[in-house]
């Protein structure tokens, strides 16, 4: 599904050079639920961003469904992200100016889908995360757990093959965190969605099919 080959990511600032990812080779299989763990600053987010085509590696290849992503023109990269990938971030990243329903519809705006169809799918997605009673709310009127559920609804509305989640439960208490985890596990089991999740929580990672550990930019397990 996703293959990373010899991935290196270097951040250069005027004073220092950080090797955030060092020779990563990894492949994520279809239908797999993979978790990534490691100490803060070890490169987990960087790895996820490279996988999700949000960031370009300094070296190495990212292949999605066997297709090389580096060097693709902006238009095709966008379509890739739009059709194949769904993101869930630790800090939700909802558009605060738009109500919940519009936030969830967002990925479909960039497809050829009618307004009414979009609406229908958004309501369905919100139902899946148990938030269909909050459609007209603005993100600022929701709790953290609710916001993350909106973010998940947004990530799944386009039925992407892969969901990339960067510490989706990082800002939530354990009850809320477990609810979110249940939703993700359901998606993986029932819909066959491939999921890659960064987490700090051993208990969460235990529920996943496979664990990848990072240390200082290198894969240690």
């Amino acid at each position: 599904m996703i293959t990373l080959q010899n991935i290196e990511k270097v951040y250069r600032t005027s004073t220092i050079e950080t090797l955030a990812l060092n020779n990563i080779n990894l492949s994520v299989e279809k239908g797999e639920f993979l978790s990534i763990m490691g100490p803060s600053g070890c490169g987990k987010s960087t790895l996820l961003n490279v996988m999700g085509l949000l960031d370009e590696p300094s070296k190495g290849d990212v292949k999605i469904d066997g297709k090389r992503a580096s060097g693709l023109p902006d238009k095709e990269l966008s379509r890739f992200r739009n059709e194949k990938l769904g993101f869930v971030f630790q800090s939700y990243h909802l558009i605060n100016d738009l109500p919940v329903l519009d936030n969830v519809e967002l990925p479909l705006l960039y497809r050829k889908i009618s307004g009414s169809e979009r609406r229908k799918l958004a309501i369905e997605a919100l139902e899946k995360v148990g938030l269909s009673n909050r459609m007209k709310h603005y993100p600022s009127q929701l709790s953290g757990g609710q916001r993350q559920r909106v973010a998940i609804a947004r990530a799944i509305i386009g039925k992407p093959a892969i969901i990339l989640a960067d510490e989706p439960t990082g800002n939530l208490d354990s009850t809320m965190g477990n609810e979110i985890m249940d939703i993700l596990m359901n998606l993986n089991k029932n819909e066959g969605t491939t999921i890659v999740m960064v987490t700090h929580d051993e208990n969460m990672s235990k529920k996943t099919d496979r664990l990848v550990r990072l240390f200082d930019g290198s894969q240690v397990m």
Binding site: L54, D55, S78, R81, D102, Y138
Partner: protein
């Protein structure tokens, strides 16, 4: 997609009331200045009361005599006999009128001083221009031949001198120790139309200038009316031929070797007055265009500035949209539409502001008798300017934003 852009725009504008207010304020102020300036330029340069024949008219305002050996130069209006001999002899025009430069004098009424502007004209002056006569009529060639001391005055002077709306036909006024009989009252002309603006119009026979004086310089200028606009080049050519044959004469120790005199269209004559440059009109036109461009680029830069900060402030939204599949092109589209929409709203507000300002200019006496208006031309300029500015000021920030890396945008 467009419908969505609008929806997003309205949602964003509504949610960020303060920011929207600031942006709209900046945009509408900028466009207001633009609309008022356009209205003013339109007022200056488009045919307006009473000079409705401007498009078909040519003007000869100055005669230039050059002594290239001693680098001497004299330029100014012409004598009555010069205009009569060399300009009135044109065959092609429909009508040729001669008027003096405007002069000032003081009049007294009930011990109150009234400062007046007056000019001498011929009878053709009243035929070339379309004055509104509130009462009476203009003086005629017959009146001039009979050496009648008649005048036409404007409404302002009548109201000041005789009282508001009091009929004054047949009454007399004193000007420069001479008595004149009033034969007509016209609606006032704004001072921005110097060819026709005056408080008192007198027939040239009443001037103290010696009309038979053969020397070239005096206080007169000429306005030539063509039968149709297409005739203008032919008339210019005819005149150039005449001008070539004007004998060069020395006078009072000044020995010119060259004479410059031309027929200009309205804008040329206006600009020559303004800048005192007389060589070629392309230079003048390019100067005008350049000034207009510089003037318009200021608000454009201002708008780009407003919009750049408005858009870059939404970096995280940009990052989110990109992460979920918006291409740079689509985002540029969204922000450009948003900008044009905002600028158009600003344009509507600007027109309301402009109407207020123009109403103020017209009713207060900042420019006496001014008749600035927002007509279709001004409205068209305002609309096009709004669209162009909306586009220009949207494309640059949108382009900058589309260059932004997703990860950086998300962190912002």
């Amino acid at each position: 997609m467009l419908k969505n852009y609008f929806k997003i725009t309205i949602a964003v504008l509504k949610r960020r009331k303060f920011f929207t207010f600031i942006s709209l304020f900046g945009i509408s102020m900028t466009l207001t200045i633009l609309v008022v300036v356009t209205a003013f330029l339109d007022h200056l340069f488009s045919a307006g009361y009473p000079e409705i024949n401007r498009e078909k008219s040519l003007y000869s305002m100055t005669l230039e005599q050059i002594d290239s050996k001693n680098q001497g130069q004299q330029s100014g209006p012409m004598s009555f006999s010069f205009v009569n001999k060399y300009i009135k002899s044109l065959k092609l025009p429909a009508k040729i009128s001669l008027t003096s430069m405007v002069s000032t004098a003081n009049m007294y009424r009930d011990n109150k001083k009234i400062r007046v502007f007056f000019k001498y004209t011929d009878a053709e002056f009243w035929e070339i221009h379309q004055f509104d006569f509130l009462e009476g009529k203009p003086y005629t060639t017959r009146d001039i031949d009979n050496n009648e001391f008649m005048v036409v005055i404007n409404e302002d002077l009548r109201n000041k001198y005789f009282g508001n709306g009091v009929s004054c036909i047949g009454k007399t006024i004193d000007l420069d120790n001479q008595k004149f009989k009033i034969v007509g009252v016209v609606k006032g002309v704004p001072i921005t139309r110097p060819h026709t603006s005056a408080d008192i119009y007198l027939p040239y026979n009443t001037t103290k200038e010696d009309l038979k004086d053969p020397s070239y310089r005096g206080s007169f200028a000429a306005i030539v009316l063509a039968k149709e606009k297409n005739d203008l080049p032919k008339i210019r050519a005819e005149f150039a031929e005449i001008a070539r044959k004007i004998p060069i004469v020395s006078q009072g120790g000044f020995n010119p070797d060259k004479i410059n005199i031309r027929l200009d269209d309205y804008v040329e004559s206006f600009l020559i007055n303004l800048f005192r440059r007389e060589d070629n009109s392309t230079f003048l036109y390019s100067l005008l265009v350049l000034i207009a461009l510089i003037f318009m680029s200021l608000p454009a830069i201002n708008l780009i500035n407003i919009n750049t900060s408005r858009i870059l402030e939404r970096a995280s939204e940009i990052g989110i949209r990109k992460a979920f599949g918006a291409s740079s092109k689509v985002l540029v589209g969204q922000f450009v539409v948003e900008n044009i929409f905002l600028t158009l709203i600003g344009g509507v507000i600007a027109i309301v502001f402009s109407l207020l300002i123009i109403f103020y200019i017209n009713t207060s006496q900042i420019i006496p008798n001014s008749d600035l208006a927002i007509n279709w031309k001004v409205l068209g300029v305002a609309t096009i300017a709004s669209l162009v500015f909306g586009l220009l000021s949207g494309v640059y920030p949108a382009w900058r934003m589309s260059k932004m890396h997703i990860v950086d945008a998300l962190k912002a």
